[in-house]
Symmetry: C2
Subunit: 190 residues, 2 copies
């Protein structure tokens, strides 16, 4: 079912769908909009996603987790000094959200009504990410408790500055927050 061309097409298809869910949320995204941005008819969407809107969101969610993993969290495993890995993680997150101009689909769908099982999956994923971040903080010399706190604080700062920057309509605020984080990670291990 997946020819070489269709693999690329599927990526652009998913990307178009993602745009709608990002800006409208799960409930706000309608099949009419989803069909329009993809250039397909509604019925054609059901060929690609027999489960309808719920399946689209599910696929996009897994996709977003994979992308964020690849863009950001994978860098925690590189063969570099711990502090440098943390800095590169921050940069990866920065890139994933397009420097504050785009929201994170996981956060968008995680607050919504996609069902308890999905929320639990997202929570599990976040717990894993926090653990891994804490592990790297430990490598920089922090005690476990402090490392855990730093990991939580880092994620909170990234998502929080993304949120407030978007509420304000000023992506620059997010960029400045990222810059500060980079700086503080630099200083901590200078």
């Amino acid at each position: 079912m997946a020819t070489i061309r269709s693999v690329r097409s599927r990526e652009t298809l998913l990307s178009s769908l993602q745009g709608v869910f990002l800006s409208k949320g799960y409930e706000g995204a309608t099949l009419t909009q989803l069909a329009r941005v993809t250039g397909l008819g509604k019925a054609s969407l059901y060929h690609h996603f027999p489960g309808g809107k719920a399946e689209m969101a599910q696929v996009l969610l897994r996709d977003a987790v994979a992308q964020l993993e690849q863009s950001a969290f994978a860098r925690l495993k590189e063969n570099r000094p711990a502090a440098e890995r943390l800095r590169r993680f921050v940069d990866g997150f920065d890139a994933y959200v397009d420097r504050g101009r785009r929201h994170c689909l996981i956060a968008v769908l995680g607050q919504g009504s996609l069902g308890e099982r999905h929320n639990e999956m997202i929570a599990e994923q976040f717990r894993d990410w926090q653990r891994r971040l804490a592990g790297v903080y430990e490598e920089t010399g922090l005690k476990p408790k402090r490392a855990e706190r730093s990991a939580q604080a880092l994620l909170a700062t990234l998502y929080g500055s993304l949120l407030t920057a978007r509420l304000l309509g000023e992506p620059e605020q997010f960029q400045r927050a990222v810059k500060r984080q980079r700086k503080s990670l630099q200083d901590a291990t200078a």
Copy 2:
């Protein structure tokens, strides 16, 4: 139109409606649900809010701004040392979101599709709040630039830890973040 009893009733009415918008978002909240939680028929809701769902959200939004102002930001104007006012602001925010168990309606509706005018109103409100926070930080001895950064960082931390704590289903994470903020505000001016 507003007898003494109806004033109290209106508060509980608004509170019920708020619960639906908080958990379902604007698009996700249906008139059927809104009617059910209030114990009224759909048609009766239109007596209280002739503008329908949009008016309910608008009223609730203004209400939330007023509540957050009263619970938290008003404390920045008290006759106390600046650092103590900041600490009391944090505690007020903590109380407003019920120690991390409840989301902030402004953040929920702000990301949504309530129209450009509302988003601009929310952005303006946040800018004002940031300015006022920065002003108090200046009073603690910080230079304007640093004060502005601290204000942005404080709001980002509060909203970010609220977001991540809720994604994780662990309000305790928010409470710990609040505790840390209090502590750092204590140390900064010990």
